[in-house]
Each structure stands twice: as structure tokens, then as C-alpha cells.
Amino acid sequence: MLDTPARETGTGSGTTWTRKDLLDTDTLSREEIDLVLQTARGMKEVRSRPVAKVSTLRGVTVATLFYEQSTRTRASFEVAAKSLGADVVNLTASGSSVEKGESLIDTVRTLEAIGTDVIVMRHFRSGAPYLAARHTGASIINGGDGTHAHPTQALLDLFTMVSHLGSVEGRRVVIVGDILHSRVARSNAWTLLRLGADVTLCGPATLLPRWFVPEVPGGGRCTVTTDFDRAIEGADVVMALRMQKERQQRGLIPSLREYIAGYQVNARRLERAAPGALLMHPGPMNEGVELSPDVAHGAQSRIEEQVANGVAVRMALLYLIAARSRA
């Protein structure tokens, strides 16, 4: 522990953050990802203090603008911003002028006009944060858009993996569930492949992407499969996704029972992964569906840790983005 600070300064501080927005992980370089992880380590230390608060972002206003419900992402961002001394304004689609039909562009411009520096945005439409970013000088952080991207989740997942595995290079990560509709799977694939991990996307054929497999030149390899029992063999990380019950109503899975039989992470399956493999889930969990309760709360579960790490990683991103925009 005491050796790390000196060693890290030798190489880690070369990259600087220049981005106004964080919309997805697909364009982040390896160096930028490393900078986020390194900064998050510092933030995690701040979070571990008796008084877990600094005043670095005093005078910065962060707005959370959520067009879709969320517990952990919104709360996590609010705690992160407040831990850095920023002021936070929370807006949801219900109870704001959005209900009166105010457009997204008008809403973000209004937020900018009242002095908001950073807008954390969640929207049910894929791509909405990109539209917002083009129409405001405020920074936009994508807190999840439709079925497209969830970059802060991917970075906190990566942070959790790296803190256990040291590095993800050459490791194998299996993501299982509704890949087709999962912004978490997509954003995770980009960061993991970029850092040299091999990614297996696994689920029933109806819930797998048919035409799109992420590819990162010089990075890890991405494979897509329906055979979970084979995919989990020797995996270093197993990430289960939330199975939305409405998928069954839409006929994408024959029945929940069949999904569980083929794709639930349970003790029997987890045993076939690498010894000490990390079990992850972006939450909220359907216990008994994508995860059996014993593994969800078992020794290999990193699920609560993911939530705690989320605050540190979001602090890092708010810091990098807000400190840059003040210059």
C-alpha cells in the first residue's frame, strides 16, 4: 500500500482530461480509462475518511436530470457531487416542466442559464444525451440512455474488477442476460476490450445482438454465445444482467422458468468459473431469476462493493470534467 503512491507517479500522471462530456466509453482511450481509475482510487480514500468530504468543487453546480426512474445512479451521483463540495439540483421528468412538454433542448438550456456546470442525464431514448450535449455549454454525463450506453456503470464495474484482479488484461469476463437491450453490457464491452480483456456476451438467441459485435483493434476479443454452461467455464468475472419481466410478455423468452434453467447464475454454475471468480450485477437484482439468492449474497458476490465504488468513480468523473470546464 505504501509503495503505490511513489510508483504511480512515475507514469500515471502523463494523461490529462480534456473532454467536456462523457457520453459513452467507446471513444475513451486506454490512458483516459487509466486516469479515471487512478483518480477514483484517490476518491475512494476520501470516501473512507471519518469526514468523507472535500470542497474541491465548491461553487460548481451539478444537476441530475432523470427522464427514467433510478435509485442507485441518481443517489450515487448526488452523494459523489456533495462529497466534492458541489451543489446539486435534482430534476425528474415528473414534477418539472418536462410534464408540460418542455423539450430536452430547452430543459438543458434552462439548466445552463441558471448556472449549471454539469448535467447528469438519464433518458429512455438512446442518443438523447448526444443531442443535449450539442445544445449546451454545460457538460453532459450520460447516466444511461435507452438501450445504448451507461458509461459510469461500466467504469465502476471496471474499477471493481481491477481492484480485485490487478488488471483485466488477458482475463475473461462473461456477461449473461438480455444483452440486446443492455446499455450496461455495451459500455462494459468497450472498456473491457480496450484494456485487453476477452468478453463473452451470453444469453438466449432472441436477446443477443445479431448484427453488432464490438471490436477494438489491439484489444481483447468479443464472442457471442447462447451456451452459458460452456461460457462460464474458467471465467474470471461473471456479470449477470437484470431480466426484465416484460421481455417474456413480448415473447423474447419462452418463460422465466426456462430462462432460469439456461441462464441463472447459481452455485453449481459458479463453481465452474475460475477459483474466486468475481460475481457482479449492475442492480437492481431479481433474486431467484438471473441470480440465485445464495450466490447473490455469497462470498464471491461483489455487488454491494460495486455500489460503493460507484460513488468513488462518479466523484472522479465529476472532478475531471468539472475541473476541466472551469479553466
Partner: protein
Amino acid sequence: MSGVRYLGPEEIARTIRRLGHEIIESNRGTDGLVLVGLLSRGYPLARRLAAAIREFEGVEVPVGALDIGLYRDDVAQRGTPPPVRPSDIPVSIDGKTVVLVDDVLFTGRSARAALDALLDFGRPARVRLCVLVDRGHRELPIRPDFVGKNIPTALVQRVRVRLSETDGEDAVYVYGGEEGDA
């Protein structure tokens, strides 16, 4: 732009031994003493001071690492966010004598930031400042308690401390401007 070397490995080693003696003399021993080095180069200096004190006194003085990235006042001027690394203060500093250790004292702004950072970890009885090099040009009312070497410099010059732990050699260089008159 060529640098002038002001200190080499032997001089740095001797200076650290002297600073170690001065610290324990001023503290009347090692009781309640905690050395806290600023990241990145103050920290290896603090460890070397602790090693010197161990040699003289046979006592292991606790050493901490302090990152001041979140406490700097020049974020807007820099244009890029300063790096942030974990601090590591291994013992409670309440009621202790904390010696902050850094490589170069210049404007005093790092020392100011370090005081803010340190006080977030507790309430020391007293805080002292130890630097390997004091190059002058203070912008804040801050003065060091223990100084390895005073190197008068022009404002345009740069002072670079290189340590084997972080840079692969022990040396102090001054770059640029007219040559300083040490």
C-alpha cells in the same frame, strides 16, 4: 535548456541526516512525532528521514503520504485537473507533532494546500514544515522550520528534485534563466 546540478546523491544523503537530527532535536526526541510526505516526492523524502531517525534513535517514526490534488487553488489556472491519488495517513494525528515533508518550497501554495489536506485527517498539536530545497518567492505567509538547502533562484527558473524512488537518481537541478548564484 541545460540544468545546473546543485546537489548530488552524497549531499542529499548528508542533508537528510542533518534534517533528521534537527527534527528530533526540535521535538526533543521522537515522542508523538509523525512524518507526512507530500506526494509525490515529499513522501520518499519522509521515508528517508524516518530511516535516518531509526538509525540515530532506534525508533520507528510513523510515515504518511499526503495528496494535495483536491486542495490546490490553481485548478482554473492549470486548465487540467491536477492528479488525485490516495493519501495514506497510517496513524491518528490528533495531538501529534506532524512534520510535513516536501521536496521544494516555492510560492507556499502547496504547503497551504497540504495544511488543509492534513487538517481533514485530525487535529495535530503542532505542524512543522520540512523541505529539501527552499527556492524563495513566497506568495503566502508560510515559512519552513527545517530546510535542507536554500537555493536563491530567479522567478523564471525551474528547480527539479529527482529521487531514486521516483526518478532513478538523486539530484537537484536548476533550469533556465540566468544561472542562480548558490
